[in-house]
């Protein structure tokens, strides 16, 4: 695909195209096949293309890829626009460009998979979070992560949500700096048959705790009885803080269902 984004019109050509109103340029391109007029139309509407690519596809694919797809949409709109029908070009171009990006997402299986960009970003956020936690001895804020990774705060928040989702994608992949083989919870705890009690919390909970996995029971105990932070638990168990959070969420959800049923 030609790179429209990076090709400025030559100054010589621009001389007799800039300053002309767009309607004229459309006539010159569509009726006379004037390539200079087309190039000028592309130049004028690239800000629109950029804005749509940035807004519609945010957090999805690398921006440059989206810009290429959106640019193709612009070229189609330039060919198909009928100035005589009285609609402004923008009203015609926006749905055409958005249509091109939606088709691209559909064709690349984007609707059913976690987008590649989002997945890579989530793993980066997870690794950065661990690195910063280790360095400072406490978990970073979203803004610190955003700054460290040069991302938007929104991208970091989305990544944290993805990491929270129970089974969005495998979080058990070896982490950066790890020795490759994930340590099982049992190994790292070394005492998974120990009986963790949450009697300090509530008797009705104790009655159903037997239904909860030993590793999750241990994590519940550390958080709610020993009052360790999630980062401290992560250190002790040898998993990421987001995994601790995910396991806590899941086991509390199970406990709630169990106490409710009983």
């Amino acid at each position: 695909m030609p790179s429209l984004a990076t090709k400025p019109p030559s100054s010589l050509r621009a001389d007799h195209a800039t300053g002309v109103d767009s309607l004229q340029l459309f006539r010159r391109w569509q009726r006379d096949g004037d390539g200079v007029a087309r190039e000028e139309l592309v130049r004028r509407h690239m800000p629109l293309v950029r804005r749509l690519a940035r807004r519609y596809g945010r957090s999805a694919e690398p921006f440059e890829d989206l810009l290429q797809v959106a640019s193709l949409g612009l070229l189609k709109a330039l060919d198909r626009y009928d100035a005589d029908r009285g609609h402004p070009f923008v009203a015609f171009a926006v749905p055409t460009i958005l249509g091109e990006m939606r088709r691209y997402f559909r064709d690349s299986g984007w609707s059913v998979h976690v987008p590649r960009g989002a997945q890579e970003r989530a793993l980066k956020v997870r690794d950065a979070q661990e690195r910063l936690s280790n360095k400072r001895g406490r978990a970073p804020t979203v803004h610190q992560l955003a700054e460290y990774l040069e991302l938007d705060a929104e991208d970091v928040i989305d990544a944290l949500q993805a990491l929270q989702a129970y089974e969005t994608f495998s979080l058990d992949a070896p982490r950066a700096g790890g020795d490759g083989e994930a340590i099982s919870y049992g190994d790292s705890l070394g005492r998974d048959d120990e009986h963790y009690e949450l009697v300090e919390l509530d008797v009705t909970l104790s009655a159903v705790l037997g239904y909860i996995q030993p590793r999750e029971r241990a994590i519940l105990h550390m958080r709610f009885v020993e009052d360790l932070t999630q980062t401290e638990i992560a250190d002790r168990v040898g998993i990421s803080q987001m995994q601790v959070s995910r396991l806590l969420r899941r086991s509390l959800d199970q406990l709630r269902t169990l106490t409710h049923a009983g």
Partner: protein, 280 residues
């Protein structure tokens, strides 16, 4: 039958609040089973409507931004309102060469199944958009049988967000996302944001048994490393049972995760106030 939104967000038109709206919508989209493309369409169109309120509704001043979300049998509808008198969304003008103006309306029209733009009595505008979902998950219907009610517009200040949501399934998808983004804004560490999510999960799952109306109302006030939650309206005696250390079920867990708890009595029941602090 009066139409009752499933979710109402009342906030100020600060730019950072658009992110709160987007996170709430992503939660709704998850809950209703929208696919990634449909969710992207929804978020992009609603962002355009919100950005207009941010930039133009109050001529540079701060004012209320209200977003209502309705679950439909085959998708959802979103209404974005302002109470200002500023520039409303307009289609791009003919012969306007300025491509920077007026892409909001074409974007909304292109991405929604149906869109309406109307002026409100007493000032302000509303954009109502409908979105299709290819495989929508049906929600428990909210009808106007007397119990259905949703919090009205309240006073908005920059650091306050009000959320009303029903039913439980939607609250469980929306409340954790909204509270995490507000905790992030209050400079909480990721560690403590996860705790906030746990509290949100537990409240969304258990508070509906204690509320006096149809919707769970949560008001959030932000300060650096501090979140105050006001949960209402609860039936008399229920505030204590949601969080007390000695209460049944998971109430002690909420007690452990929060820094302060207070039950405020009101005429029609009570309000539970929770404080979460990130001490670090």
């Amino acid at each position: 039958m009066a139409e009752i939104p499933n979710v109402r967000l009342s906030l100020s038109n600060r730019p950072e609040n658009v992110l709160v709206v987007r996170q709430a919508l992503t939660g709704v989209a998850d809950s209703l089973g929208l696919d990634a493309i449909e969710t992207n369409d929804l978020n992009t169109a609603v962002t355009e409507a919100c950005n207009n309120v941010v930039l133009h509704a109050y001529a540079g001043e701060e004012g209320p931004l209200e977003v209502d979300v309705y679950a439909l049998a085959d998708g959802l509808a979103v209404a974005v309102r302002d109470r200002g008198s500023g520039i409303r969304l307009r289609p791009p003008e003919r012969d306007s060469d300025d491509v920077r103006s007026g892409i909001g309306v074409p974007v909304i029209n292109a991405l929604s199944r149906h869109a309406e733009f109307k002026d409100l009595d007493g000032g302000g505008t509303e954009v109502r958009m409908e979105f299709a979902a290819s495989k929508a998950t049906a929600l428990e219907r909210l009808d106007g049988n007397g119990r259905g009610s949703v919090g009205g517009a309240r006073t908005q200040c920059a650091s306050t967000v009000e959320l009303s949501v029903a039913p439980t399934a939607l609250a469980r998808a929306v409340l954790p996302r909204v509270l995490s983004v507000l905790a992030a804004r209050a400079h909480f560490s990721t560690d403590r944001i996860s705790d906030v999510q746990l509290v949100a999960d537990l409240l969304a799952a258990s508070a509906f048994e204690s509320i006096s109306g149809s919707h769970l109302d949560v008001g959030v006030m932000m300060a650096p490393r501090n979140l105050e939650l006001r949960i209402g309206s609860l039936r008399a005696g229920h505030g204590e049972s949601l969080v007390a250390a000695g209460a049944e079920g998971l109430a002690p867990v909420i007690e452990r995760l929060t820094d302060a708890r207070r039950v405020a009595r009101a005429d029609s029941g009570e309000t539970l106030e929770l404080t979460l602090v990130d001490r670090r």
